[in-house]
Subunit: 132 residues, 2 copies
Amino acid sequence: MQKIHNLSKNQKIIFDLIDKSAEPMKAYAILFNVQKKGIKAPLQVYRALDKLVEIGKIHKIESRNAFIACQNSSCQISKATAFSICESCENISEISNSKLSKYLSNFSDNSGMKYSKYNLEFFGLCKKCKSK
Amino acid sequence: MQKIHNLSKNQKIIFDLIDKSAEPMKAYAILFNVQKKGIKAPLQVYRALDKLVEIGKIHKIESRNAFIACQNSSCQISKATAFSICESCENISEISNSKLSKYLSNFSDNSGMKYSKYNLEFFGLCKKCKSK
DNA sequence: TAACAGTATGTAATAATATAACATTTATAA
DNA sequence: TTATAAATGTTATATTATTACATACTGTTA
Ligand SMILES: [Zn+2]
Ligand SMILES: [Zn+2]
Ligand SMILES: [Zn+2]
Ligand SMILES: [Zn+2]
């Protein structure tokens, strides 16, 4: 059962922008885009991003410092994320593969760590770029 | 068969520092530490870091913007990395688990992507922090 | 309603991370 | 030795993210 979060004004503006974007967006690109809507300072953007990440509406692509809307409604609130990144055209998408997520969510080793979250980034070439 | 890379002067200074460190090091912490050895500018540090990452002597912990020496001699030259991160004490270590690396290296889906590299970060609580 | 707690906002300043551009030097190999 | 690649030095600047502080909104409960 997923809690419904009513997004605040800034959160909604920023989520809508990211959600409509074809690619992951960087914080300052977001800032530039929402200035006409009255969001003027980096901190306003970062605060909204933090919250949106926290509630799983968006994810951060760590290797790119960019943010993407969650493409996976059943995604476990940002606790289990996997992405596919084309190193040639920078096309990025969220991987939704139940075997993979089960495997990783159940992963444990003999280190004594109790894992509660993971983030995985795969890199390679997409269909298009492969055939060039 | 692993190619032997003869590290240059700056690369060696910086690798030795990271290798001796108990924790992952951030670029400007590295800079501060090597200034007495004549490395004065950020770019000198970043260039050495880039090379060391490229040849697999160190890895970047993306979620922390920090660098750690490879703890896994058989690590496939930074093509397949996994880390364990305690969110309480920030203890970080490289996971060396052949089943995991096999599973991920062989991962493929029906997206048409050809994967050649991955980076995985697990988050949780270490033994010590769990029992607090 | 009033008081409170929690969340969100606005604004300015600054910190932390990373790269561009250009000149020079050193190592490697044909 | 000549050419090429790799590494270095230096200055400036771009990009990403946070601190600090004041104010306002939202929902809950006395
Ligand atoms: Zn998701
Ligand atoms: Zn591509
Ligand atoms: Zn390694
Ligand atoms: Zn710990």
